[in-house]
Amino acid sequence: MSQRVRVNPIACEAHGMCAELLPERITLDEWGYPLLDEQPLRAAEVEHAIRAARACPTFALLVTRERDAARGGSR
């Protein structure tokens, strides 16, 4: 089953740890919030992704097992 990184944008407070720990997948925008590559993680990246998620001070980074097709509502 493929795993991906995802961010909870409400919880994220731009600490930027994730981009330090998973630069292969995460860069920061001009305000310090993560820009994610949400393609499936390669096997070698999964461990780093989990470490990055654990290091997030607000637990905003998630490693998901399947793609969350459902997003917010209509607005």
Partner: protein, 470 residues
Amino acid sequence: MNPATAPTMQAPPAPSAATREQPAAALPRLLAGIPASGAMTLEDHLTVHGEMPLTGAHRRRQVREQAATLIDEVQRAGLLGHGGAAFPAATKMRAVASQRRRAIVVINAAEGEPASLKDRTLLEIVPHLVIDGGVLAARAVSADEVIVCACESAHAGIEATTRAIAERDQRASSHAPKVRLTTVPCHYVAGQETALVSHLNGAPARPTFTPPMPFQQGVARRPTLVNNAETLAHLALIARHGASWFRQVGTPTQPGSALVTLAGPVARPGVYEIEHGASLSSLVAAAGGATARLHGVLVGGYAGSWIGAEHLHGLALSNEHLAAHGATFGAGVVLALSELACPVAETARLARWLAGQSTRQCGPCVHGLDALATSVAQLAAGGGADPEGVGQAQAAQRVDRLASLVTRRGACGHPDGAVSVILSAMDAFQAQFADHARHGPCDACARPAELPLPARPVPSGSQRTGLRRQ
């Protein structure tokens, strides 16, 4: 147009009792038989539309069969959500019905979109049709509670709905789902599904991170069907007259009729019922014609798209036709901008307003929409001391860059909608934006704003305070 301005209702008189057995395909449907003023009483509602079907069954198996039948009928009808996203209503109902816990139905008439008046109008005039839809949906997803959510400024709608609920309570059987009314703060994002659920759970009316989606875990942690008020009013008619009746008007991919809020320089702005695919010109004609030449039309509301004047001839109001112009029907807002207005200045004001409507939860939305509004304001201010236009070109590039930085990066679709409306304005009004880049503000810039942008409160407690755990 502010909510205090009464919408003009256009509807022929009530169909006679003789035509009720086999309702004609003609419009109006939702607005059939509405009184000259005030709300339709329960008695009149029953005379015009007939008794609510599917309420006789009390045995569990019977109820289950009826529920499945209704959802199938809604699917055959091809009913799409009228809140803006045009999501198939039957799919949403099935998702809720398949959950194990007892569900709740939320009738969404929060209508935070200031350019839209249709949902408050429905509550004001045909509250029983809306409630019927909620009660039938409750049957379909086996919910025991229906909550009507009205915008707190929709006083007439709240009054009419309160009275309607009291009328029904007098004759409701003990098996009927409980119906209650709740008011919702009137800010732009409050009507978003998860924001509404959050409000009903006693938290601020702000979007939440998903999953869980409301259909999985919504109000009181129960599976929650959140449907727009108009969607449910259509459902009440589908339950009575069936899918093939519903499909007699509209387009194959977007069947049925729809309410449109028409604003701008027309003789009688207000709420109209049209069939999907009706021409813009027929709508404007129904409203007594245009009273000024137009720069263009904003379709779908403040998360929608501008269509320039050169494309308005022959424009049809259905998603299929609007897609060619990068627009969607959305929640049925059609906002015409007169040629007297400055589209650049209007866009700059709208961009600033949309930035202010952020619930300030997601960084890219907070920072991105603010930066976008600043860049659009720069475009509106024009070159001035910068004859080469370097600053203007940079500002335009910055808008593009910000648009991609903001899109799909919020918990809700607010940043995406703001980007859509700003980019579509820059596209539809290229000539005016170019003119501002060269010569700075135009004469029309000083005119009063045409787009209604009420100062509505953003939800309290919305400032980020330190660390929050989910």
